[in-house]
């Protein structure tokens, strides 16, 4: 089957066995790959109510038809499972050589089941699968563990691993790959840790089946050069993602002091200019010609790789306006394998709770040394507070009480990314309806809201824009599996993707065909949530309460006195549901499921939760 290897590797850690399975062409066309494969497999195979940190959860690595093939930014893999932070469907993507190596080993999907008896490293080389002891690197950070693995297998191997946070089941532990960065902020590192799976190492030697390999090779390399040329012209990678920090500060969208403030006079000290000035090296994922990883020295002389989300959430959001100590926090997150975004939000929430008398402790905003200690306590679950905060801001807020849930910056248990939506209704909606909890990867509408709509509008055009971007960002790029940045930041036309798809699969698809797949995937994820939360309610799609609080409105600056309004937000949410074909709870209607070819999945979900 061109475009896919057609094979799934299923490994059981409990029994130390594995099986190679095949999938049909129909399955491939219906779900394409990556998130599509992961969502469908998890929907079919996980019984509702399964403990995300128990042996019955599954850890999935899923690739798409262009993953690993040289073409713009295809060195990405999707990792997925039931999320320990939300209890719903969870996934994430990360740059890694595993994308190429797993496909060359002959698989589009790896499913890991069960729980090992001892710390384990899974070694996959073509049809060979070995369960190797990983006791030597258990308890060690991701950098040491990676070096140990590279020393054994060489730098050409694809590696996924976890740090102490994953081992200690921190609910927002990520999966790391030093060939890229980190992914699976929905707690996929903890899912690996719960299985005592320290690392996955993959080597492959087979060709990836393609309809026109020579054509793909020619166009793939040409396009990689072209993306590089465009990037040089736009200059995007000079400051990379952190270029947006200064803009967020201008337009009152920067998280400062646990999102209480939207801008700060010292923000320039950690902006893209300063980051570029402090740069010591540049890194990129495999198959990337617009490399965005900027490293600087932290205040202990270590090399720390930064992007906007971690700068904003570990910097201004904690009232730290100095790159070096902020880079230290980032280094610790990366080494322990803690998600930088959730890590930043959980710590800012705790400092806010202390400030408000809702939580015990003496942490203060701006205290970088205090936050370093706190982060260590979280990753190692060392203290009572560290242990509680390892559960995430939603669960910690429930323990603290005193209304602290209102300023726990999360949706469905996943902390929000670094965009302060105090008065950005469409982006608040994007966080609210993201299918994995608050994440910016699904949809990002702020420039649209400022430039083409009106910031204060709660009109249907914003719901339409959120859906358009979900189809592209949360759909296409997550199921074809490649980095969205060439299109997102450098305007690389979307029309290239059906072209690549045709070269590898021989199928002549339009972008509209892709949007149908994207809608299907979002709907099956919704059914997954319905099964887990049968009493589901539209309030699950509400952003944090503090954004609606008049007392929290800015007192000066571009949005002084303004805040989100509940009735208007609810109207915007309804526009979204109506346009998507969802009912008033935000669940796809039977007619929508029928249209998307999901009648069978609908019937399976109906045993647990009502459909309309």
């Amino acid at each position: 089957m061109n475009g896919w290897t057609g094979r799934i590797l299923r490994v059981n850690l409990t029994t130390k066995t594995h099986r190679i399975e095949t999938f049909s062409e129909e399955f491939a066309r219906k779900w394409i790959g990556g998130r599509g494969f992961a969502a469908k497999i998890l929907f079919d195979e996980l019984a509702p109510g399964v403990d995300p940190l128990g042996p019955d959860n599954k850890f999935i690595v899923a690739l798409g038809p262009i993953a690993g093939i040289p073409a713009p930014n295809t060195g990405k893999a999707v990792v997925a499972g039931k999320s320990p932070s939300t209890g719903g469907y969870g996934d994430g993507n990360l740059g890694t050589r595993v994308a190429e190596q797993l496909r060359k080993a002959g698989y589009d999907v790896l499913i890991v089941e069960g729980r090992a008896a001892e710390p384990t490293m899974l070694y996959i080389e073509d049809d060979k699968v070995e369960h190797l002891p990983a006791g030597e690197i258990w308890g060690r950070g991701t950098y040491v563990a990676n070096d140990w693995i590279y020393a054994k297998y060489g730098k050409g191997a694809g590696v996924l691993n976890i740090g102490q946070a994953g081992e200690n089941l921190v609910r927002y532990a990520v999966v790391r790959s030093l060939e890229g960065r980190a992914g699976g902020r929905t707690g996929m590192g903890a899912v690996m840790g719960s299985k005592l799976l320290k690392a996955i190492v993959v080597k492959g030697t087979k060709p990836i089946p393609q309809a026109d390999p020579a054509g793909m090779k020619k166009i793939g390399y040409e396009d990689l050069r072209e993306v590089n040329r465009i990037d040089k012209k736009t200059g995007w990678s000079i400051q990379s993602t952190n270029g947006v920090l200064a803009w967020c500060n201008e337009v009152a969208a920067l998280p400062v002091h646990n999102f209480r403030k939207t801008h700060h006079p010292d923000a320039w000290k950690v902006d893209g200019e300063r980051l570029n000035d402090a740069r010591i090296a540049t890194y990129g994922c495999p198959n990337c010609t617009m490399r965005c990883g900027i490293t600087i020295h932290d205040d202990e002389g270590r090399e720390s790789e930064l992007d906007y989300e971690n700068v904003a959430l570990l910097g201004p959001n904690l009232d730290i306006f100095d790159l070096a100590p902020m880079a230290s926090l980032n280094y610790l997150c990366d080494d322990y394998g803690v998600d930088t975004m959730s890590g930043g939000c959980v710590m800012s929430f705790y400092a806010d709770a202390v400030e408000n008398g809702a939580a015990p402790g003496d942490i203060r905003f701006g205290d970088a040394e205090g936050f370093k200690k706190l982060l260590t306590a979280i990753a190692l679950r060392q203290t009572k507070i560290g242990d509680l905060l390892a559960e995430g801001s939603m669960r910690a807020a429930r323990a603290f009480g005193r209304g602290s849930i209102d300023y726990a910056m999360q949706v469905k248990g996943l902390e929000v990314a670094a965009y302060n939506c105090k008065f950005i209704p469409g982006m608040a909606l994007a966080f609210g309806v993201s299918p994995i909890g608050a994440h910016h990867k699904e949809s990002w509408v702020i420039t649209f809201e400022l430039k083409q709509s009106a910031r204060e509008s709660y009109g249907p055009e914003k719901a339409r824009k959120v859906i358009e971007l979900q189809r592209i960002r949360g759909g296409l790029f997550e199921f074809i599996v490649s980095c969205r940045f060439p299109w997102v930041e450098n305007g690389w036309p979307l029309e290239h993707y059906p072209k690549y798809f045709k070269l590898v699969s021989g199928l002549d698809w339009s972008l509209d065909d892709f949007w149908t797949v994207a809608d299907r995937i979002y709907s099956v994820i919704k059914l997954f949530w319905l099964r887990e939360f049968p009493q589901t309610d539209r309030r699950l799609d509400y952003p944090p309460a503090v954004w609606f609080d008049p007392a929290n409105a800015d007192t000066e600056g571009p949005i002084a006195g303004q805040h989100l309004e509940y009735d208007k937000y609810d109207g915007l949410l309804q526009h979204y549901y109506d346009q998507r074909g969802y009912d008033r709870r935000g669940i796809p209607t039977k007619a929508t499921l029928e249209r998307l070819g999901l009648a069978g999945e609908g019937r399976a979900a109906e045993a647990y939760g009502k459909l309309t």
Partner: protein, 75 residues
Amino acid sequence: MRVTVKLIGPFVQLFGFSEKALDVPEGTTADGLIGLAGVDRSRPKIVTRNGRAVAPDEALADGDRVAVSPIYSGG
């Protein structure tokens, strides 16, 4: 009147300054200011005035802060 221009992201490196105050004639528009500041008008961009989006033909006032940014799409 005196207004401040703030460039964002790679515009800083591409147009050679980060932020500067300019004395401009009364009635200068947002678009006019971009020209006066030496920013390539053909670049896709989003322009804000005191943190809110501004139309190209909107006249500026003394003390305004105008930020000129590439159209970021949120990573």
